[in-house]
Symmetry: C2
Subunit: 140 residues, 2 copies
Amino acid sequence: MDKPILSESVIFPKGDELPEFLSKYFTGKVWVSMLVGRDNEFNCPIGNVTFEPGCINNWHKHPGGQILLVTGGRGYYQEEGKPARELKPGDVVTIAPDVKHWHGAAHDSWFVHLSVETNANAGPAEWLEPVADEEYNKLK
Amino acid sequence: MDKPILSESVIFPKGDELPEFLSKYFTGKVWVSMLVGRDNEFNCPIGNVTFEPGCINNWHKHPGGQILLVTGGRGYYQEEGKPARELKPGDVVTIAPDVKHWHGAAHDSWFVHLSVETNANAGPAEWLEPVADEEYNKLK
């Protein structure tokens, strides 16, 4: 019963599938709706991001930092050198500038979060290598 | 049936009632949970704000701008010189720096939004006069 609900954004629009130049850094399908764009004075682009079950992104860094506000499903966040943290709706993740990390869905659940890119004029995300399969596959 | 649900934050914690030095700028009870604080490198404090039915804030301005992400209930946003805009879950409001505005609940509904204060190092909000009763009372 959960899947039809959690495949949606819960509150904010699901948007479109990521274009290939970004989706290549994810292991499956991802939808993004930009609620606040990059080309304005807010310095704070906000996207509603929906991951299909089992889909996660590569390791990456944001030079200005990022905040995740979880609104649906179940997923994970991991910083390099630390254990993965399970995420559920209502959870907040603050990711300091230049901290190497990944996030995405659990194996058996859709996952939806708002992504708030802070100090966005510091520059775009730096995309790195995929998460090792054995690292992700040991997560419940 | 809606009231018990919409008196909650829907997803994020409801938090505590505003202290008097801030609540004096609102016409009723307001609860705030700071999801991301002010004393950090993100330059982007985020609060989950819950208004009781009929509660709105005074006219005010943010020197760095503000973004509202509506997660529950029904309310309004108005910029000086423009008609009030009705708000429902999933709506996004981008408020440019120094634009005079107010927001809050409809007469008959709780109202919940995330408040994202952008470019927060530009300084604190400037609080102004209350919204005229006849202005608010004509809204449905």
